[in-house]
Amino acid sequence: MSEDSFTNIMKKSTRTFLLIILALLITGGGIGYYLYNKGPVDVQDSNSIKVTAIALYDSYTKDSAVAQKNYTGKILEVSGEVHEASLNQQQKQVILLENGSDGSYINCTMEEPAQKIKATDKVTIKGICSGIGEGDADLGIKGDVYLTRCYFVSTK
């Protein structure tokens, strides 16, 4: 092998090596950039845990550690009867679902535009569970179980 062809092979392999490194850097950077800028989780298209409003609240009041493990931070599909529909200060719809206990509810903040919902309607709502809020024992206010970024699955 002449010295020239050896140098050529070396040049070629160095170039291929550099190209591979460059491709890896671009891919890695691209993935990193994508992950860094990734928007919030898509609630509507995600898998969910199905539970009734009454069972969900029961779980938090009976054993909050287990409920936290099973439900907090998870995407749930909660079905129940509407106690009240209102708008919050950001004009987002807030639906309170009856949970079998007076004065506390499954408190759902809707992501989609407000719909015509009234008390006693039976609905199923999909959203992310943030856990059970604190009440005020002195004032006799009980804590609600909160769901955020919610969407209606059914409104019969």
Binding site: P40, G73, Q89, G133, D136, L139, I141
Partner: protein, 180 residues
């Protein structure tokens, strides 16, 4: 005479209980301005009570109900900084400082609030000015103050020091539309 006294007593009870208002859907936001990045998050599920007569105010928020524009930020906020599985709630218990304005009348009032803020398992006494606007008998309380993360043992890794400021602005906006 006795009946009169009973009626007066009943009315006093009613007016006193009507002085306590609360919301379970108030708003708390935070804003962190750093050289590389501005970070904002909002929580629309704040539970807060206000006793218009004694001036006692309480706030309780679930950390997991703070939402960000980027999911990675939300993850880091919960797992690395606030450790929300270990410390799921932040609370504030305090009082409006004297003299407490007559909040049964519509109007705009400026008050000072001081009390204990518990965040990330650390309790600190804070004081902040706040505004209370009463419209048709419903009070809306607003306040903006800032906290230093190190005071609450929230540490920022050196690698992201430029992305996160050491103090963050907290805004509170609660409409007390439910009455006891």
């Amino acid at each position: 005479m006795r009946n009169c006294l009973i009626i007066v007593f009943l009315f006093t009870c009613i007016s006193v209980t009507a002085q306590k208002s609360y919301t379970k859907n108030g708003t708390i936001g935070f804003y962190s301005k750093a050289p590389l990045e501005k970070i904002t998050a909002e929580n629309n599920q704040v539970m807060s009570t206000m006793d218009m007569q004694s001036g006692q105010v309480q706030f309780s928020v679930l950390i997991k109900a703070f939402h960000f524009k980027k999911s990675l930020m939300e993850e880091h906020f919960n797992e690395n900084y606030m450790e929300s599985s270990k410390f799921p709630k932040a609370t504030f218990r305090g009082f409006l400082q004297q003299p407490i304005p007559d909040l049964s009348k519509d109007g705009q009032y400026t008050v000072m609030i001081s009390g204990d803020l518990t965040l990330h398992g650390v309790t600190k006494n804070i004081s902040t000015p706040a505004s209370i606007e009463v419209t048709n008998g419903i009070a809306t309380g607003k306040s903006t103050f800032n906290i230093t993360l190190a005071d609450y043992k929230i540490s920022i890794p050196k690698i992201v020091k430029d992305n996160i400021s050491e103090t963050v602005d907290i805004t509170v906006n609660c409409r007390y539309d439910k009455k006891m």
